[in-house]
């Protein structure tokens, strides 16, 4: 289904070339795939495996460790409602209830139109602003059930499409370092100098 677009394939190759070991590009390429499709499909993982010379199992293993990579189709907007202690005490349950009612899906589900995916989340480090939620990882603080309903209405009407890019988008402004200016990483196979933080000691004196 989702092979890299021609443009992204060029970018992917360039990303691979930035590292002394192609394998190091797995995470950046997973981001790229998620940016293109909103989520990461099996085909995308196979393609990444080919590009960096590892097995698809290794790509899957690496990717699935990270919470923010999604391996199932996902809506254009991902609504994460925090349910951990502070938020729970401040009414996260009602937020979730309102969202489920408004969207017609349970936590974990995606609306039929593919617009919004609703997830329960653990603490988002905004406990002082509880209860809080995130839309595509953008915060909304001290949210009320009505606020949730309004938010959903705005997402549906497109009123927020400028502020919140589709799920998976990494950045709206892309930095580009021309290859002649890229410093590049030192190849660990070539660089034999000891790590800087280990003080060099007299032979036998270290323990």
């Amino acid at each position: 289904m989702s092979r890299f677009s021609a443009e992204n394939l060029t970018l992917a190759r360039e990303i691979v070339s930035r590292y002394p070991r192609p394998k190091s590009a797995v995470i950046p390429l997973l981001h790229l795939a998620q940016e293109q499709e909103g989520w990461i499909s099996e085909e995308a993982m196979r393609e990444i495996a080919e590009l960096v010379g590892v097995t698809p199992a290794e790509v899957r293993g690496t990717g699935t460790f990270y919470e923010m990579f999604h391996f199932e189709p996902i809506g254009r907007y991902l609504l994460n409602i925090c349910g951990t202690m502070s938020c729970a005490l401040m009414g996260a349950g009602e937020l979730m209830h309102a969202a489920e009612e408004e969207l017609g899906v349970r936590a974990g589900g995606t609306t039929d139109d593919g617009l919004i995916t609703l997830h329960g989340a653990e603490c988002q480090a905004a406990c002082t602003e509880a209860p809080c939620l995130q839309v595509n990882y953008r915060y909304r603080f001290r949210v009320t059930p009505d606020g949730v309903r309004q938010l959903i209405a705005d997402l549906r009407s497109g009123a927020l499409s400028d502020e919140i890019p589709p799920h998976g988008t990494l950045a709206t402004v892309r930095q580009h370092i021309p290859s002649d200016r890229a410093v590049g990483a030192v190849d660990p196979d070539v660089d034999t100098a000891p790590p800087a933080w280990i003080p060099v000691t007299v032979e036998g004196a270290s323990s």
């Binding site: 099996e42 993982m45 199992a57």
Partner: protein, 790 residues
């Protein structure tokens, strides 16, 4: 679990000089001498203090995954709990493996490991030999405070054709995944997901189809991984075991043979420092199933008007003796020939060689046209240990992963972890290509110039001069002559005179059979040619199947059709024995004792574990019986007399006698064709032991043709079309698959690992059926009769 991890750490009392690498530590109050670099867990174990562990494995890198090995270690800053598999010894270190704190920590870890463990020991194959069970008993708290619901997964899911995974039982020790990645190089299983949901799994639709998958079952410290052939077959306490040697190929891995109620149930790898480090390939591990196959021969057969019919031993033997006598008396000893012997023990080979000597029969060969000339076997021999510690290994051999899998593992380990540099000359790439320092691709027939060119390279010359060199020599391309190989090896030896040679032989005991004298002035090809001309009256097949194994199958067919009489000694009925006049059923591995000789010349015992099938007998016994019927004295009364004739030197090496003509193998590589042929084999092929093992049978891919996709495109072959390959000796129709890219014409550096899109070939005209010089049928054939019960 494997046990060997000492690599000679003992300090010799006689030595006065203090060992500069000696480190003294205190373990549980006792002073212990360890070596620099030793892990605490290993040093303590050698000192007699066992520290519980799950993830630590002496043949793999430590990862500190399970934390079961926590002990109190004091390096001068007070005792601290540390995982002993992650800490190396240092001078003055104090280790306490029995303190109250250690005990509490280990109990705590076990309680956590068991929090999600289903405890279904009564229905678990591992029960009774399970490190989790054993260590929960020896180092666990006895009771758990967890009352919560455990994690649930679908009960065993197949992760390959051979291995099942029960994720509920898995304790996430990373042994299997580490093995797959680090040792086998087939990272097809991996930890998936995170936290409480972490599980071992494959990529969807991409099974763990590694040639080495069975090892993960052996090293899994719980019953999470089970092997299909053994599932629910026995309880460990019902198993009897004996140590033996795998003879499925010439590596000679050490195995432990397990049986119950007189049936072989499984093979486990035994950690032999010199040979296999505890690993086995899946063919060696699972092809014991063929011992109990329906196609096993239970009684002698003789040809009658109705075909082969069962008979008793005494008539079978007297008929055989008559056949031998009349052939020797009629056409002289030259009209009798013996082919085979490489699948039996040294003793079998010695007995038949002695019988042939006594009768004056000179036409004998244990190689079937796919072996090596004696000139090569006569060169200074290297051992596997030499290979693993060499600074350079020159590889002029078939893909070791396909032919000698565990040798591949040892060489891969040396290349990745011991700094051994591999210079590979290859015609179609191999499992080691990506780890080679130089992988030099050349077209069939141009090996000599490729070698000369490489040796002229200053960097290569410097590398060869930098330390010990081992040449691994074998028939990479069965369509090429063995002489060409000898010349190439000679060229390398001229450049590196101290180098040792490790010969690549496929069949298990080729070396022993040759050392026993199963070779003569005429090799298998000569013998078959004489037979085809009608000059052989009696052909004796010692467990050999020329119809399936001799590369020129047309010659083999003509020969077997023209030969006067055929006597076949075999465990299973094969294509050739079906044409025999007398078939004598023999004991196979697991059913007989003796010794075998691996590719190093190392002699190791093989052991009988189960009663022979039917009335089968070992080959040597048949030879002795025939000798007495023929009235010749072999000077041998029993097996012991034969074993005494295995004259290994002090290195344990039994050498092939020297001064014999090199055997010659004809080349069919022509230059006036569009393509050049590389004939090679896969691990799973038409071998009887594979085809008669239900678990392996389906893994053999049949024969096929690898052509570079751009060549196929150029000659206009659509995918799915079969291709007719034409050569000087005949033609064959094959489905093209693209296993590996064909060789680019220029040598490539190993770091260019992506297949080159360069078309592989010399001149090429556009034809609808590509022709290639072929005369020998591919050996991936699937022609043998089925072993399924009818």
């Amino acid at each position: 679990m494997s046990t060997t991890e000492d690599t000679g750490a003992e300090v010799d009392d006689e030595v006065v000089e203090p060992d500069p690498d000696a480190v003294s530590i205190t373990v549980n109050g006792r002073s212990v001498t360890a070596r620099r670099g030793d892990l605490v867990i290993a040093a303590a174990e050698r000192a007699g203090d066992y520290i519980p562990r799950f993830c630590y494995h002496p043949r793999m890198s430590s990862v500190g995954m399970c934390r079961q090995c926590l002990v109190e270690i004091d390096t001068g800053r007070g005792p601290m709990l540390q995982p002993s598999c992650m800490v190396t010894v240092s001078e003055g270190m104090v280790v306490d493996t029995e303190s109250e704190t250690t005990k509490r920590a280990q109990e705590g870890i076990l309680e956590l490991l068991l929090a999600n463990h289903p405890l279904d020991c009564p229905v678990c194959d591992k029960g009774g030999e399970c490190p989790l069970q054993d260590q929960a008993f020896s180092h666990g708290p006895g009771e758990s405070r967890y009352v919560e619901e455990k994690r649930h997964y679908e009960k065993p899911i197949p992760i390959s054709d051979l291995v099942y995974l029960d994720r509920e039982r898995c304790i996430l020790c990373d042994r299997c995944t580490r093995f797959a990645d680090e040792v086998a190089g087939d990272a097809l299983i991996h930890f998936i997901d995170r936290g409480n949901a972490t599980q071992v799994n494959t990529f969807p639709d991409e099974p763990f189809s590694s040639y080495f998958s069975g090892n993960t079952v052996q090293i899994c410290p719980v019953g999470a991984l089970t092997a299909k052939p053994y599932r629910f077959k026995a309880r460990p306490w019902d198993l009897e075991q004996v140590e033996s040697t795998c003879t499925s190929c010439s590596v000679g891995c050490r195995i432990s043979v397990h049986s119950s109620r007189d049936r072989l149930l499984r093979f486990q790898g035994v950690d032999d420092e010199a040979v296999n480090w505890g690993w086995l390939c899946d063919r060696g591990r699972f092809n014991f199933e063929s011992v109990h196959a329906d196609r096993r021969l239970a009684e002698p057969l003789i040809r009658s008007a109705e075909g082969l019919v069962p008979t008793d031993w005494s008539s079978a033997l007297s008929i055989t003796a008559d056949l031998i006598r009349s052939a020797v008396d009629g056409g002289g000893p030259g009209s009798v020939a013996v082919l085979g012997g490489a699948r039996g023990t040294n003793e079998d080979a010695l007995a038949w060689s002695a019988l042939a000597d006594a009768l004056g029969v000179e036409s004998r060969d244990a190689r079937l046209g796919d072996g090596l000339g004696l000139d090569l076997l006569d060169l200074p021999r290297a051992t596997i240990a030499d290979l693993a510690s060499a600074s350079t290994v020159v590889l002029m051999a078939p893909d070791l992963k396909e032919e000698l899998p565990v040798l591949h593992l040892r060489l891969r380990d040396a290349a990745l972890r011991s700094g051994t540099r591999v210079i590979e000359f290859t015609q179609s790439g191999s499992g080691l290509t990506r780890h080679a320092w130089r992988s030099i691709r050349h077209l069939p027939g141009t090996g000599a110039s490729a070698v000369a060119e490489a040796l002229a390279d200053a960097e290569v010359a410097a590398q060869l001069a930098s330390g010990p060199v081992v040449v691994v020599a074998g028939r990479q391309n069965l369509a090429e002559s063995a002489e060409a190989l000898s010349d190439r090896v000679g060229a390398v030896l001229a450049a590196a005179p101290e180098a040792g040679v490790l010969p690549v032989l496929r069949r298990g005991n080729t070396m022993g059979a040759l050392a026993a004298g199963l070779h003569g002035p005429r090799d298998a090809a000569d013998i078959l040619r004489e037979a085809a001309e009608g000059r052989i009256d009696l052909l004796i097949l010692l467990g050999s199947d020329p119809l399936a194994d001799f590369p020129d199958s047309r010659l083999a067919r003509t020969a077997l059709a023209r030969v006067g009489r055929i006597v076949s000694l075999d465990g299973h009925l094969c294509a050739s024995s079906e044409q025999a006049d007398v078939v004598l059923p023999v004991a196979v591995m697991g059913e007989k004792s003796g010794t075998t000789t691996n590719l190093e010349g190392r002699v190791t015992p093989v052991s009988q574990k189960v009663t022979v099938h039917g009335t089968a007998r070992p080959d040597w016994m048949i030879a002795l019986d025939l000798a007495s019927r023929l009235g010749v004295d072999l000077g041998v009364a029993d097996l012991g007399d034969l074993t005494a004739r295995v004259t290994a030197d002090d290195r344990g090496v039994w050498s092939v006698p020297t001064g014999v003509e090199p055997a010659h193998f004809e080349s069919v590589v022509g230059t006036n064709y569009d393509f050049r042929l590389v004939l090679s084999r896969r691990l799973y092929d038409a071998a009887v032991s594979t085809q008669c093992s239900p678990s392996l049978e389906g893994l053999a891919g049949g024969r096929g043709l690898s052509v570079h996709p751009s060549d196929l495109e150029r000659i206009g072959v659509a995918s799915g079309d079969d291709v007719k390959v034409i050569g000087p000796r005949g033609s064959v129709v094959l489905p093209p698959g693209c296993r590996t890219a064909s060789a680019p014409t220029r040598p490539v550096r190993s770091d260019c690992s992506r297949p080159s899109p360069t078309a592989s070939n010399s001149s090429s005209k556009r034809t609808s059926s590509p022709s290639a010089p072929i005369g020998w049928s591919s050996s991936w054939r699937r022609s043998s009769p089925s072993c399924r019960p009818s």
